[in-house]
Amino acid sequence: MLDRTLVAKLREIVGDVYFREDKEALVAHSYDGTPMLQSLPDGVIYPKDTDQVAEIMKCLSRYRVPVVSRGSGSNLCGGTVPVQGGVVMVMHRMNRIVEVDPENLTATVQPGIVTAEFISHIESLGLFYPPDPSSMRISTIGGNIAECSGGLRGLKYGTTKDYVLGLEAVLANGEIIRTGGKLMKDVAGYDLTKLLIGSEGTLAIITEAVLKLVPPPKSKKTMLAMYKDLYGAARTVSRIIEAKIIPATLEFMDNPTIRVVDDFAKLGLPRDMEAILLIEQDGDREAVERDMESMRRICESELADRVEVAESREHAEKLLTARRSAFTALARLRPTTILEDATVPRSKIADMVLRINEIAIKHNVSIATFGHAGDGNLHPTATTDARDLDEVRRVEQAFEEIFEAAIELGGTITGEHGVGMVKAPFLEWKIGKSGIEVMRGIKQAFDPYNLLNPGKLFAKETRKRVVIDRG
């Protein structure tokens, strides 16, 4: 229960309708896209502009009330679960495209705009914003920045961090800062823009962003390579990169994933194949043709059973959309799907797939694997049932070993989903004790009272490593 004077002040700032503390609103903001996590906030607030955010923060910091800022709550790391209660700040009302600047090729947006809506507006102007997380039809740009979202085009075009030039953000004490700008070069001090990207709402509340736009590719081609041998598919990935080809998209799906995705999207995917690669190249027509031909030959030399080029743009889009549904579609198998995003250097993809399957067998759990193989970012997904505590425990053990394996192969515990609550106990595995100390120092400088999204990133204690470090 929040202090009544504070509530009166909050209502005064945003108006009665935009602050809620009834049970309905609290329950509806107690979860995000992460399985098995739920915690009720004490209030939900919907600010309309930066000034309101600043006023709200001044009040909340005075009363030492935690705040979790969020967009659509589609993240997968428990990033927006209000684990210590407090106020959830929903950014949906701040959803304007403030400006598109064709001379600088930038767009200035508020954080609450839905990613796909932004992209479709930008594309209607003949421009291109590449980051395309699978949740883009619901996710917001603010959420993408907070989590540094990736997507299917990551390997060629990079991720959200490569397209944010400047930010406006409100600090815990209510002060407004501006970082970067419409600038291609800017070395004025520490790069606070980059620091805020991927900070998961723990350092400041992002209220506006200047995004970099690029010219769209002139042509695109998409193909599907189908394999009876899982590792042939995985090896193809490293071989394509080795041949100095960087495709726009290079996605991997194993057999269980293919089946559920086809149940949902009904595209006639090959249900008898052990794996498929969804490959897209874009750019000038001739270069695209040449790359597609080279990649087709590599697929065949790795014993692809069939390689088919998508007959039309429409069909290609359907394939990509189907792939984006993979995570949720896996929930058709069992009620709970727990997905991770261990990431390894691209050359290690085949090793990683092998290790994941060994680990799944060892712990007797079902793990389907799909992901952005081209950038080494896999999404091993356990299909289980939250009510079966014993199985869930085995799944957790399996994932610990998968993290361990990823790190051993020179990888990381999370490629694009973020640390949040879920991976906090493993953060130290990746960045070490001194890494944690530096990060804690940064957090302290921004948010001395630990009010911004508390309980995320930093775990009370680091998980003991289950496997002896062979590295």
């Binding site: 896209g33 949902f264 709970t336």
Partner: protein, 461 residues
């Protein structure tokens, strides 16, 4: 123990005490399918598909939010208070979230279970209680009464009584949604399709299949012409049409409004009525009815006596557009003679239940494009609910009006002369929209079947 475990345990401890003190909570816990609740993994892919989320931007007004609320009640985390009940009724039941859900959560079933449980404990004020019981129990299930009411309405509409009533100002006493409805109601008739055509209509030419027509309850009083046209069109296309006269209301409005038991009773009596017809297909011309008919197997799955018959029934249900398009020998649909020079522009508003439950978005479109000299313009967001949603426009007028206003913007942008639909509720709502937003002179709203039928009669002339 992971953070997740700790949190789960904390949640369990703190909330245990409020579990099921409340009798409605207990009924909800019994009636809600907990497996379906768990199957929602909260990815949020349903959010952009949901009309109420789009209008409000509020999580609690989304399918993911509503399922979370249901689960919170089932878990004993919250009481099914007034806001909860209102939220369950705020859902249009358009089920656009279902095709959008990669996890295949049966949201439609969940919302019906929730409403059914709420209705068991509902304490409606007298007027609402009276109206509900009058229509749900007193009228829809009883064909003779419905027809008598239709006859009375016809007298009212044709005798000049309507003029007197409208002139008297007495209409102002009615709530706005009902007043508006009165204006757009088509001419009722006590002569239904069987009275006009008999119970059997032979196929023209070689018989492709024998089909049994589901005539609906309101449909056969308010849209009897459409039923007649449906039967004739099917016969023209090579189908033998049988119309079992013992059939009654499908029960859809009951199921959507928390009267599941009544819906089951109606379903059982329809099974009996159609069993004897020995038809290859059971044809519906109303997406709203067809969607429940196609789910009779689910509705009656606990009923061991008629489960098998229900499966037989549901597997044969098909919408008239789809059957005509896929199996029919289509007659030639001639020009609209009045505008033979210029092609006439048409557009289509999906029936949500035809699209999302019967999974037939393409057939009506492809069928209407077969008419000569028409130009089909796809309306923006044609796949979104129009706000009619059974009786939603009467129970939730505010939201329904907002949705309708957006719909009319998109409709007028198509420049269509005819706005076609596949369901009586949508048809009335579209008519209301055209009337309210001042497009009556430019745009006419019609059932796809009527539009096509008028064009075959031209061909015959």
């Amino acid at each position: 123990m992971t953070v997740a475990d700790e949190k789960a345990e904390k949640t369990m401890q703190s909330d245990v005490e409020i579990i099921f003190q409340n009798p409605m909570a207990k009924t909800l816990q019994i009636k809600l399918d907990y497996d379906q609740l768990t199957n929602c993994m909260r990815c949020g892919f349903c959010l952009p598909a949901c009309p109420t989320f789009r209008e409000t931007g509020l999580e609690q007004e989304s399918p993911r939010g509503r399922i979370a609320l249901m689960k919170a009640v089932a878990d004993g985390m919250m009481d099914p208070d007034r806001t909860f009940q209102e939220q369950m009724n705020h859902c249009l039941g358009c089920r656009a979230c279902e095709p959008a859900c990669p996890a295949d959560v049966k949201y439609g079933q969940l919302i019906e279970q929730a409403r059914d449980a709420i209705e068991d404990h509902a304490q409606h004020g007298l007027p609402v209680k009276g109206i509900r019981s009058f229509f749900f129990k007193g009228i829809f299930p009883h064909r003779a009464r419905l027809k008598a009411l239709g006859g009375a309405l016809a007298v009212y509409q044709k005798s000049g009584l309507r003029k007197i009533v409208r002139g008297s100002g007495i209409m102002k006493l009615l709530p706005a949604p009902m007043r508006e409805m009165e204006q757009i109601l088509p001419d009722a008739s006590s002569q239904g399709v069987v009275e006009r055509l008999g119970t059997l209509l032979p196929a023209k030419g070689d018989k492709i299949a024998r089909v049994a027509l589901f005539r609906g309850c309101i449909m056969d009083v308010m849209f009897a012409d459409t039923n007649v046209h449906t039967a004739k069109l099917l016969s023209e296309a090579g189908f033998e049409v049988v119309i079992p006269n013992e059939q009654g209301c499908c029960g859809a409005l009951h199921a959507h409004s928390g009267e599941l038991e009544m819906a089951r009773r109606l379903a059982r009596s329809n099974l009996e009525a159609f069993k004897a017809a020995e038809a290859d297909y059971i044809v519906s011309n109303a997406g709203g009815c067809g969607a429940l008919l196609v789910e009779y197997d689910h509705l009656l799955q606990q009923d061991s006596d008629c489960r098998e018959l229900a499966e037989w029934f549901s597997s044969r249900v098909v919408d008239v557009s789809q059957l005509l398009f896929e199996r029919g020998r289509l007659p030639r649909f001639a020009d609209d003679s009045a505008s033979a020079q210029e092609p006439v522009t048409i557009t289509y508003q999906d029936s949500c239940h035809l699209r999302n439950v019967m999974k037939s978005p393409d057939a009506p479109r492809r069928l209407m494009k077969q008419a000569a000299n028409v130009r089909f313009v796809e309306m923006k967001e044609a796949d979104r609910c129009c706000g009619s949603a059974g009786i939603y426009n009467v129970t939730q007028p505010e939201m329904a009006n907002e949705i309708l206003a957006h719909k009319m913007e998109h409709a007028s942008r198509t420049g269509a002369r005819y706005l076609l639909t596949s369901n009586p509720g949508c048809l009335l709502q579209m008519k209301l929209g055209v009337l309210k937003h001042g497009g009556s002179e430019r745009m006419e709203v019609k059932h796809v079947v009527d539009f096509l039928y008028e064009r075959i009669t031209h061909a015959e002339e």
